[in-house]
């Protein structure tokens, strides 16, 4: 009691500090903390979810996977064309169902084991023979998206598997057999979800052992701590407490080695905070740049890269909503009523374009010769009158608290579109909903929605990945059942000859724009920014940026 309390407190803290000092081992390697010019810190919007790319479907997990892993085929740098990856060449057989891949030789996984045909088959068999929780749609989302089901489907709703078998013919030749022809092959194999992983590491860390109970899925340690690929970077550490993930140069890489030693992905969820971190030098680049920031950042000298637009924003019309919407004339009136060019010019980032199809023109099968519906409010009014829908009231859903690459500012977009609709005499009942889960639930299930907008970013350069996703079967989002259209999709997807298939997709795009299930609005190029002294990275429409080529000036 006698000693003054602050002094006692300070003494106690000092004693405690001394007591704990040095009581744990530092595991820093002596060489770390090297020159800052050897390390790029890149700001990302969210933590990755999982490091095993077979289980990943979120952008941040895929970003890491693209540096650590490689796929048999990969998109050209900065484009969507299929180019060699771990396979040097690939050819289908006459029937188009068996593809022979010739593999690169001399490639090693990060754990030193060999990459060869056996390893390819090990990976495909692992996915195909997935059991139990590995068949959950949130675990193997992309496998199910591309291949449908598994060797033994545990959920009766799953379609049969597209993949049939894998045969290693010799060390560098592998045959992948499929149950039918599909336009997705080989482009879909560019997805990071089809990354080649070390069979040795997969076994060692029990990678397929997704455990837990149904409501309580637990990933094996491989998926959280030991991703092992062939890429130019190796996984080093994931520091959740500091929201950073570190990858390090693979010095044994067979190709051009990464220029920087270390890349650190740092999570900064707030877009404004990412911008401030870039300006203050905490980070040397970030993704998901707000459209309004593109020009100011450029002016300040930052290296703003614009990705070629590989997405679509569309206005969806639900034909099971207001009964009038089943009338083609009413849908046409809506298409003529909206001034898409004005929207693109005033609300979307520089480089955005009005969409003519429900897919961007960089994808084979895009068709410029479709019905175009240029802005024409008079015609819209006339069509509404002809359809006897002069006093139409539509429930128009729009999302709040969200930005997507195709939709930077949903509220602004809603206001423009609804003003256009009101101008032709359609009454709009605004229904703002929180993006997740309310908005997504309301617009993609049930039948209470009339109009809403939504979009899609392509996974790989294939028409089916866009229009097939929307229109290949009845969906609550659109509320129509057009058997002829669905049959057309099936026919196109199973056409083996590439040129013939492209023609069929062109015809499909024309049919879609005549049937007009909704109005394609725009393609917006998302931007990514790097520090003033960072060069070497090429923006990719598929967000497949390769950090191996990044360097400081």
């Amino acid at each position: 009691m006698r000693a003054p309390r602050p002094k006692v407190a300070i003494a106690a803290v000092a004693v405690a500090a001394l007591a704990v000092a040095g009581c744990a081992e530092s595991d820093r390697d002596s060489g770390s903390g090297g020159s800052k010019k050897d390390t790029l810190v890149f700001g990302v919007a969210g933590d990755p979810k999982v490091l095993d790319p077979s289980f990943a479907s979120d952008g941040e997990s895929l970003r890491v996977a693209r540096q650590v892993f490689e796929t048999l085929v990969r998109p050209e740098e900065g484009g969507t064309k299929v180019t060699p990856g771990l396979a040097e060449s690939w050819t289908p057989d006459a029937a188009g169902t068996t593809w022979t891949f010739k593999l690169r030789s001399g490639v090693k996984f990060h754990d030193g084991s060999d990459f060869n045909a056996e390893a390819v088959c090990f990976n495909f068999n692992r996915w195909y023979n997935a059991k139990g929780l590995m068949q959950s749609p949130d675990v193997t989302a992309y496998w199910q998206d591309v291949m449908g089901g598994f060797a033994k489907n545990e959920n009766p709703d799953l379609p049969p598997s597209l993949f049939k078998s894998c045969t290693a013919k010799d060390a560098t030749t592998v045959d992948l057999a499929f149950n039918r022809v599909s336009s997705k092959i080989p482009a879909a194999l560019m997805l990071p979800s089809f990354s080649m992983q070390s069979p040795k590491a997969l076994q060692q860390y029990d990678a397929s052992n997704v455990t837990g109970t149904a409501e309580d899925i637990k990933y094996p340690s491989y998926a959280m701590e030991h991703p092992t690929g062939t890429g130019p970077f190796k996984f080093k550490a994931w520091d959740v407490a500091n929201k950073t993930l570190t990858i390090e140069r693979n010095d044994d890489y067979y190709g051009d080695k990464a220029k920087l030693k270390t890349i650190i992905f740092k999570t900064i969820s707030d877009e404004n905070a990412r911008k401030q971190a870039l300006r203050s030098g905490d980070i040397q680049g970030y993704d998901l740049v707000g459209p309004a920031d593109v020009e100011p950042l450029k002016k300040e000298g930052f290296n703003v890269l614009t990705r070629p637009a590989f997405n679509i924003l569309y206005l969806a019309i639900n034909q099971k909503g207001n009964p009038k919407l089943a009338d083609l004339k009413v849908r046409q009136a809506i298409a003529y009523a909206v001034n898409r060019q004005a929207l693109v010019d005033s609300k979307l980032p520089p480089g955005a374009k009005v969409a003519m199809n429900f897919m961007p023109d960089t994808v084979e099968g895009w068709n410029g010769d479709v019905t175009k519906y240029d802005y024409n409010p008079e015609k819209a009014k006339q069509l509404l009158a002809e359809a006897g829908a002069t006093n139409l009231t539509l429930k128009f859903h729009y999302p709040t608290e969200v930005t997507r690459p195709y939709m930077p500012n949903p509220k602004d977009i809603f206001e423009l579109l609804s003003a256009d609709l009101k101008a032709v005499g359609i009454n709009v009942q605004a229904i703002p909903l929180k993006w997740s889960p309310d908005y997504l639930n309301a617009t993609t299930s049930g039948s209470k929605h009339d109009l809403h907008f939504l979009g899609w970013t392509g996974d790989y350069g294939d028409a089916y990945n866009f229009i097939g996703t929307f229109f290949d079967r009845p969906k609550d989002e659109w509320g129509f059942n057009n058997a002829a259209l669905f049959a057309q999709f099936k026919d196109a997807d199973t056409t083996a000859d590439a040129a013939a298939r492209t023609e069929k997709y062109k015809a499909l795009n024309k049919a879609i724009m005549d049937f007009l299930p909704g109005v394609p609005i725009s393609h917006s190029p998302p931007a990514i920014v790097f520090g003033k002294d960072v060069t070497g990275i090429k923006a990719s429409p598929l967000t497949d940026e390769r950090y191996a080529t990044a360097e400081f000036k």
Binding site: A24, K49, A141, D157, M224, A273, Q276, D282, L440
Partner: protein, 334 residues
């Protein structure tokens, strides 16, 4: 005192039980579920149904609650539906950040607030008093996130004195032991890492301290003024004690009771996470994570985190109650 502590801890059990029932009902009445958040625009009615089935969300709520209780009894908080990592792991990785930030903010708030409040009371009606009272009014009125942005814009972006985001410079490559970064730096003798972590706490600490500081200034001032008018102070002065002794042993000490209560409440509040400050400074704590979990409908994380936060809150208040007996010997806990 021992029996008092045990009794208070036992009271936690019905509290937590009641809380879990309320939370469970509330969470499951929210529209939508984790399946929409997980699948985003890629979801179809079939895949969403499959995930609901996988997560056990298609079962009656009583069955789900029973399963939750069984897990709770084993102290197993389950796995996050969003990150697929154990809720306990998520908590242990994020809570230390919140604790460090809280300690920083409270050290600033208490260290500045009590002297300022005391001085304001002593110099009542003079400049310092007006400045403290006015200043604290501003402190309460400025939204924390705005202050955070302003601090960051000035001291991080323009002047570059402080880092603008995160808990530590990732290029340092610090060793993790407890996830309390400052403590880890001391424990491993990575002094640069400890200093860097401390440095990262300054701006968010100041932003977060603004409200507790203002409250502590005002409560201290009011409480000191009240005590100054008490008879025993006059008696103490009359019997010739030095001003220093009167101040410290009689005035401050007696004025501390309401201040301690307020410190306890503020600390408990900060420990439950500062969503906006954490978001603005990209600081890894529990606040932003819980907020995100609400929009993701991540039931296990929400249940687990809120239950732990409730326990922490009760413990902090227990400490406050115990501190009364130290401050004022007349208060005896029984």
């Amino acid at each position: 005192m021992f029996r008092f502590i045990v009794r208070r801890l036992l009271q936690l059990i019905p509290t937590l039980f009641g809380l879990s029932v309320l939370l469970f009902i509330w969470l499951h009445r929210l529209p939508g579920g984790p399946e929409t958040a997980i699948l985003g625009e890629r979801g179809t009615p079939e895949t969403r149904a499959a995930i609901r089935r996988n997560l056990g969300l298609d079962e009656p709520i009583l069955v789900q609650y029973a399963r939750f209780l069984r897990r709770m009894i084993r102290l197993d908080l389950g796995t996050s539906t969003g990150t697929k990592r154990a809720v306990t792991t998520e908590f242990l990785e994020r809570f230390p950040g919140t604790v460090e930030l809280t300690v920083m903010a409270m050290v600033l708030a208490v260290g500045l607030g009590i002297p300022l409040g005391y001085l304001a009371a002593r110099r009542r009606g003079r400049f310092l008093d007006h400045a403290s009272v006015g200043g604290s009014l501003i402190g309460i009125c400025i939204p924390v996130f705005f202050l955070a942005y302003v601090l960051k814009a000035i001291f991080a972006e323009n002047l570059g004195w402080f880092p603008s985001s995160g808990r530590q410079d990732p290029t340092i490559g610090a060793t993790r032991v407890t996830n309390f970064f400052v403590l880890d730096g001391i424990m491993t003798r990575e002094w640069d890492a400890a200093a860097d972590a401390l440095w990262h706490l300054v701006l968010p600490g100041i932003a977060l301290a603004s409200i507790p500081l203002a409250i502590i200034v005002r409560i201290t001032r009011a409480s000191v003024l009240e005590v100054l008018n008490e008879d025993f102070v006059r008696t103490a002065e009359a019997k010739g004690l030095t001003e220093r002794t009167v101040r410290r042993r009689h005035v401050l000490r007696n004025a501390m009771l309401p201040v301690a209560t307020s410190i306890g409440l503020q600390t408990g509040l900060l420990l439950s996470g500062a969503v906006l400050t954490e978001t603005v400074f990209a600081f890894s704590g529990i606040g932003a994570f819980v907020a995100e979990s609400i929009s993701q409908r991540d039931y296990p994380v929400l249940m687990g985190f809120i239950m732990i936060i409730a326990v922490v809150y009760v413990l902090v208040n227990l400490l406050v109650d115990l501190s009364y007996s130290v401050i004022d010997p007349r208060v005896r806990v029984r």
